[in-house]
């Protein structure tokens, strides 16, 4: 039942996402129980021109 949504900067590889999904699923089951089959994870790649922090677009930060 848990749904885990990850919003992160674009640019990670599919291999990194493969590992992220495995690790997040194990992390959830270890701490909150349930089964790996029940864990849904949705990843959103966000461009730095679509992410603001401290009043600036991240694309504008050094």
């Amino acid at each position: 039942m848990p749904v885990i949504r990850v919003e992160m900067f674009e640019g990670r590889s599919t291999d990194q996402k493969r590992e992220l999904v495995r690790e997040l699923t194990d992390a959830f089951v270890r701490s909150c129980g349930g089964t790996p089959q029940s864990v849904q994870i949705v990843i959103s790649d966000v461009a730095k021109s679509d992410w603001g922090s401290g009043g600036q677009l991240c694309i504008d930060k050094a």
Copy 2:
């Protein structure tokens, strides 16, 4: 006022989305009242390489 957000695998046609929006709007109004004009629906197409289930990326599942 209701906002309905749909995250689903990418690949559906605009016609399917057209029907989905009509059906979801009718389904909401029938069960919870309100008017069709008030119902906002936002669809997110998600790649199978961005969706994890059971500790695996869905792109890796048969």
Copy 3:
């Protein structure tokens, strides 16, 4: 795999939510295929003091 998230004003009964879940699930399967078992629906009840429209809190609207 689809996750449908509904944000609506608080106040609907569990029976209305029961019907909403049945109707939204059928609406999705009819228009986009897949199986009812795969459809996850998460409902968020939102107070009118937490919903803004047209620059006002909805609690302040007639």
Copy 4:
């Protein structure tokens, strides 16, 4: 700590997003306190073929 998520029709320029981030950050700090550094803003551009209103896709509206 606040996370502000904006879903809007695609088509705005990076300059408009730059101003949006500055303005939303200032608006939050003025009304709710905290520091600009703590405010995270994530922007999602949504195609009119992925946004439904009043039972129609917005791409089908005049």
Copy 5:
């Protein structure tokens, strides 16, 4: 059409939310156009025991 979702620590007053909604709506219209009537804002109050940062629950931070 834009939907702006704000997740912030619980504890702000309705008056602060009233001002937040007014300010965010104006900020959006000034930078991205559209009309105030089209801007929907949904506020989620989050307990510090439900917000993690730097690997800790915020409730555990000084």
Copy 6:
């Protein structure tokens, strides 16, 4: 920058959430890099009467 949102059945203890936040943060940094300080995690406890699966409310499932 990453924001991880977890929607799960209500009922977990603050200690479980404490461990969940630590584990998810480590899991993200191990697989996708970045620093623990940059990882924000927002947890939503969802009642079984607000979660639908297979066309039913989870509160109605054995």
